[in-house]
């Protein structure tokens, strides 16, 4: 391909052009940006198939559930009314990495999409630490195949309604069905013995007969010991509600536990995506932007194609101001892309301010290396905390609002000035922290001796209680799985003051 020959002309695409463009993009992505990706598989689909993929949370294989039908009906009616366009692509974190591209896309759009999904997202999936730790890209499609088959089999054996009941409940708890930290390995016998002897040795060393003479509260002590023992046995407190119910719910049949497990696994699989939405999109957007610009520089993209690409690029990274009617939160594409462009700027053309704030990267001359490092080691929260620069805060004119519900007015707590940078940055980072985004719900105790009531706590942060109606509905689902009543208490995290007690919810009438 000569330096001045565009890779294609016109809007129509065909497989040969896609192949050619893919080759050119790959050259830049691997050669210049140094991306490392899973092998790619690009699949061309129709708009209807795209809607299909939407409704089943983007997975090519999914078990059947009414909620997916509901999403499909809603998306379809929105799409038909023209209220919503379809995504240009969907990409799946699997190996090979599957990117769906729509047949309606023009050739410039396909170019953009391939750079965005097949290289941007793909690189992020393969290299980001969270994905490496939590997801198994090679196994996911096989697992989904199994899940789909297993649930279909259960429907045949136990009836649609019985399966639906379990799935509904599991879906309601999906966001509280992930392990946030690697689990403690269950100790084996040798381990146990070693620890027991260590403990004994320690006790012998610390033995002091005087302790025996200290008076102690006889009954309460015993109660708390029992509680501690029970909690230890049940692995309480447990914030992975699905895990607890799967392992401990007394009334579930094995197939029901397996279904919960399937939902839990899927939830866990998507857990990194929730935490890296902004970075992931930013990475993909940065990659496509850099690549198409290079292609254009090299004369491989015609001006017309470039204009079309830039047009969609611009609408993707559009960030309306807070007082704009179109404002609906911070656009993850916009923020991610802006931060990564900013990092590139700092690496290449740092200002004095950058040198003070980011001495380790300012002017290091290796923007792509720096970015690759960031893509590998950070998630949204830590990425903002680490890399959001004063220059970008000024550019976006970010400011922080402090809102106390009791007061009639909100305060402007910090703006884009010397005093406010750190505070704005910290607050923005926190808004991406999944630990703050989702309420902290834990199973704390079970009344095993009595009525087997499950006790669940919500550790309230900043006085934000749960949505009551929703909570009651979810509790119903919890009770359906647990089989007995469930009680939810909302407790102030710092002071352990009970703010609100929900009514006990029992299981709904069984089928």
């Amino acid at each position: 391909m000569s330096e001045h020959q565009p890779l294609f002309s016109g809007a129509d695409w065909d497989f040969e052009k896609v192949q050619r463009v893919y080759g050119a993009i790959e050259e830049i992505a691997k050669g210049e940006l140094g991306l490392v990706t899973y092998p790619n598989q690009i699949e061309v689909i129709t708009a209807e198939q795209m809607l299909d993929a939407y409704s089943s949370i983007g997975m090519p294989l999914m078990y059947k559930h009414w909620s997916f039908g509901k999403h499909f009906a809603r998306d379809e009616s929105l799409y038909r009314k023209g209220m919503r366009g379809l995504a240009y692509e969907i990409v799946i974190n699997s190996s090979p990495c599957i990117s769906y591209i729509m047949e309606e896309n023009s050739m410039p759009m396909q170019t953009l999409v391939i750079a965005h999904a097949a290289f941007g997202h793909n690189h992020f999936f393969k290299n980001n630490g969270l994905f490496k730790q939590w997801t198994d890209a090679k196994g996911i499609l096989d697992y989904m195949e199994f899940a789909k088959g297993y649930i279909a089999h259960c429907e045949e054996r136990h009836g649609h309604q019985a399966v639906e009941r379990v799935l509904d409940a599991a879906h309601a708890l999906m966001s509280h069905g992930v392990h946030k930290y690697p689990r403690k390995r269950t100790p084996d016998l040798a381990d146990e013995e070693r620890r027991a002897s260590e403990r004994r040795a320690y006790q012998e060393k610390m033995f002091n007969d005087l302790w025996r003479t200290v008076p102690k509260g006889p009954t309460s002590r015993k109660g708390s010991e029992e509680l501690a023992e029970r909690k230890r046995r049940l692995g309480l407190p447990e914030e992975n509600l699905l895990y607890f119910l799967e392992k401990m719910a007394p009334k579930l049949a094995p197939w029901q536990r397996e279904i919960i497990r399937i939902v839990r696994k899927i939830s866990q699989y998507f857990y990194p995506q929730k935490q890296t939405k902004m970075m992931n999109e930013g990475c993909a957007t940065f990659v496509h932007y850099t690549i198409v610009n290079r292609l254009h520089e090299m004369g491989k993209l015609s001006d017309g194609a470039m204009l079309e690409i830039l047009h969609s690029h611009t609408s993707v990274v559009f960030q309306p101001d807070f007082d704009d009617r179109r404002y609906s939160g911070i656009n993850p594409y916009a923020l991610g892309f802006a931060m990564m462009q900013d990092i590139r700027r700092m690496c290449e053309n740092p200002t004095a301010e950058d040198r003070t704030w980011f001495p380790e990267i300012a002017g290091n001359g290796d923007p792509f290396g720096t970015l690759r490092q960031a893509w590998a080691d950070y998630r949204d929260e830590s990425f903002v905390l680490q890399f959001l620069s004063p220059a970008l805060i000024r550019k976006l004119k970010l400011f922080k609002i402090h809102d106390v519900s009791a007061k009639p007015e909100m305060d402007v707590a910090a703006i884009h000035n010397e005093r406010g940078y750190r505070e704005v940055r910290k607050a923005l980072a926190q808004s991406y922290d999944i630990a703050h985004l989702e309420p902290d719900i834990q199973i704390v105790d079970v009344d095993l001796a009595g009525d087997r009531r499950l006790i669940v706590h919500h550790l309230v942060e900043k006085g934000q209680l749960l949505d009551e109606a929703e909570a009651t509905r979810v509790l119903r689902h919890v009770a359906n799985l647990w089989g007995y009543e469930v009680r939810l208490l909302e407790i102030e995290a710092e002071t352990e003051v009970v703010l609100k007690t929900h009514e006990d919810v029992g299981p709904s009438a069984s089928l």
Binding site: F72, R80, E409, V412, A413
Partner: protein
Amino acid sequence: MNIIDRRLNPSGKSLANRQRFLRRARAQIVKAVRDASGSRSILDIGNGEKISIPADGLREPSFRRASQGGIRDYVVPGNKEYVEGDHIKKPEKEDGGEGGSEGSPDGEGQDDFAFVLSREEFLDIFLDDLELPDLVKKKMKQTESSVPSRAGYSVTGSPANLNIVRTMRNSLSRRIALKRPKPADLALLEEEIRALDESGDDPERLSALRLEFDRLVARSRRVPYIDPLDVRYSRFEHVPRPVTQAVMFCLMDVSGSMTEHMKDLAKRFFMLLYLFLSRRYRQVDVVFIRHTHEAEEVDEETFFYSTETGGTVVSTALAEMKRVIDERYPPADWNIYGAQASDGDNTSSDNPRTVGLLEDMILPACQYFAYVEVGAEYKDWLGRDSDLWRTYKQVLKPEGNLAMRRVRVRSQIFPVFRDLFSKERNDNATWAAGGEGI
């Protein structure tokens, strides 16, 4: 890199999900569909329908924080005038300044859930658990439109049906079996002969080759490339397709006493019946007969929208119906349904003749005959039954195929219709010509 074209994959992957969704929301959907049918022109009822159902039972709840209360910090872009320490008045409705990332992932709270039902789905639900009475008598008629279906191969047939694959396969195996020389071998031999001929080296071999060549040519003439024996034709058998067909007679009194309102009620009832029949039968003919003191068969437009003046003689309509049946719809071939709408007036002297016609001619020919008495919306029922009602009541039998109902307002149409055709109808109760439908 692989590119895979998935566009031709079977579509409707989420059909199973949709069915589950419809089943889940069935109760609400049924209600919405019934409501929609009350408020809307019957003419569109057969089309797909956008319906809204309450989100109850379709919620996908999750633990999430309430949208208000507590202490919240937001970071938002686009500061224009604020400096640190400013106070912003909260918007009246507490959602303007929110970060946007909160709230339900679906963006649906108390709202109804709106979506589009396809025509098929709509009718399925709309006419669910209704059944045609007396299907036993359903006649099969063999129409001329029989369907060709494949039935193996034959040695005779029209050239259009020549099955080339079969023919060539036979030809090939025969040629192999009979050792027909291949054209390529012949060409080689010919080449060799020509070469020998030109050089004149080996006359003995040349003549042997020539003999061989002649033998092979003769053989390939004897063993033809395609023999009539090889030829096969695809065979089709004409399978007569039984077609159930129905004709529906709409009888209506159009004398001056029938108001627009009454006609509207009648029309709705007829439309429902038509929809229902057309779901059960491949072909449904509709015959419109209007009557005053005389009856005539008319087209739909005239039937519903033109007014006539004159007395009311019901028997004329029945006689006309009888004439049309005799002329065009032999009861042996057609399922005949009659639906009559009237305000109940009849000339008293006509009643015996009406009864006679109905009992002796019409009912024996019909699968089902429904009489709907339409009343004025505002007028309360007088204590006594109308002329026609009393007349028809004489004919009514528990096992008979005559049904009578009264309708006064639009919303009663569907319940009455359901009542007439519902599967689990209690015969005795239904046939006793009870008062108003519901």
